[in-house]
């Protein structure tokens, strides 16, 4: 009898455990809101190439959020994104490609999912925004954040290429 109860308990525990794990990966995903700003520039102006992506705590990219680009020749200039992500998969790059944008404010919203559209596990991540302008400068913005069920809001300091950027993590 004792063994039976123990076995039942074990089964129950396994079940609970499984539910918890399933929840953390498959529940309604968290929303990431980025109010991206591209700074007004003086003189010659080419709209910048922009990539934004999320790396996990091991520095491995789990999701490219956006890629605003021109011809393939210039992809390599989005240095970190090209080195860690872009160069590895031409089809993937084609799939996420979008046109460049001029100076302005761009409110963007993403689900906290990986490149395969699966919710990201709880844990620590870093948001990257890389902005590169032909005949201009480069900005590399990094913001660590956690997916832990709590809301968080960040203000990313202005750079030569961007004004202040608001970034928020909103669990459902």
């Amino acid at each position: 009898m004792k063994t039976k109860i123990a076995g039942l308990m074990l089964l129950l525990l396994t079940f609970i455990n499984f539910t918890v794990v399933a929840n953390s990966s498959n529940s309604a995903p968290t929303t990431l809101n980025i109010e991206l700003t591209l700074k007004q520039q003086l003189g010659e102006y080419h709209p910048p190439y922009v990539a934004s992506w999320i790396e996990n705590s091991q520095g491995k990219s789990v999701r490219t959020l956006l890629l605003w680009r021109e011809k393939a020749k210039w992809l390599k200039d989005i240095r970190r994104w090209w080195r860690k992500i872009g160069k590895k998969d031409a089809d993937f790059v084609d799939g996420i490609t979008s046109a460049t944008r001029i100076t302005g404010k761009y409110p963007l919203s993403f689900l906290a999912e990986n490149d395969n559209k699966t919710s990201l596990q709880k844990g620590k991540y870093t948001l990257f925004i890389e902005v590169v302008r032909e005949n201009g400068g480069r900005a590399m913005i990094r913001q660590p954040f956690s997916l832990n069920g709590e809301k968080a809001t960040f203000t990313l300091a202005a750079t030569n290429e961007t004004d202040e950027i608001k970034f928020s993590v909103t669990p459902k």
Partner: protein, 268 residues
């Protein structure tokens, strides 16, 4: 490199082995490229102790490009000036290209006469009648230098085939992945086997504009590996040397391999 340091280096080399007259390197216009239909690169070829300012022209006759599919290719055109040669090359397929300007393996005999160190290209069996009377400290070295760099277009490939000849550098960290503040690992082989105690010097671009060349000096470990972290993005020259006595050889007293690798650490 300062004069003082150059003299010091020359002295050290004179004591330990035949000094390499100059550092030699190849410097491609690009190390990493993105392209849909291929891309041109140009490569400077020079013998120069100043990283990366050209000094003495080397011909480009020995320049070979190993394509991502392992074929040996030649530049489409070359120009030889007084301080450098320049080659043109079109990268057609995606992948990693190995650019080399390796020397021909050769026997060099050095000796001292009237206090001067001289050298001639001959092995021990060819020496008779070639050395002047009174030649001292005669030493014959079988030597081979690899002067190389890697250029990657789009997706990198592992273009790191070994041929087992004297000293070789095998990237563990892919050259297209090298970035500032990230650990880099390379392995050294000598006659095809992992080699410890290979002496390595790594110098960043722009030595002309700083007083201290800030050369990083390393020795390979038991596994033949070196590990280092470039502090800044930029171009680097790695010089590695290893020599061993060859008492079994009728042709040489020692063998010496060198590697001159040019690489780029990218912005992070």
């Amino acid at each position: 490199m300062t004069i003082k340091k150059f003299i010091a280096l020359t002295l050290t080399c004179a004591i330990s082995t035949q000094a390499l007259a100059h550092s030699r390197w190849v410097l491609p216009t690009h190390f990493n490229l993105s392209a849909e239909k291929g891309e041109w690169i140009m490569v400077d070829i020079t013998a120069s102790n100043e990283t990366f300012n050209v000094d003495k022209a080397m011909g480009a006759d020995l320049v070979k490009i190993i394509t991502p599919d392992g074929k040996v290719s030649r530049p489409s055109s070359t120009y030889k000036g007084h301080r450098k040669s320049v080659v043109d090359y079109f990268l057609k397929e995606s992948g990693t290209y190995k650019i080399t300007n390796n020397s021909n393996a050769a026997y060099m005999t050095s000796y001292k006469i009237n206090g001067d160190r001289k050298r001639l290209w001959a092995n021990k069996e060819e020496l008779s009648g070639k050395l002047p009377a009174g030649a001292k400290e005669i030493q014959t070295t079988y030597r081979y230098s690899r002067i190389e760099s890697y250029v990657t277009m789009n997706t990198p490939s592992n273009n790191f085939k070994t041929d087992g000849k004297l000293l070789e550098l095998i990237p563990v960290t892919h050259p297209s992945d090298i970035a500032e503040n990230e650990k880099v690992t390379f392995t050294f082989l000598f006659n095809g086997k992992a080699q410890k105690n290979v002496s390595v010097e790594i110098t960043a671009d722009g030595v002309r504009y700083r007083n201290d060349p800030q050369t990083l000096k390393l020795l390979s470990n038991e596994k033949g590996e070196i590990t280092f972290t470039p502090k800044n993005a930029g171009r680097y020259l790695l010089i590695a040397e290893h020599q061993e006595n060859t008492p079994q050889s009728a042709l040489a007293d020692q063998q010496m391999g060198s590697v001159f690798l040019t690489f780029e650490a990218q912005l992070n």
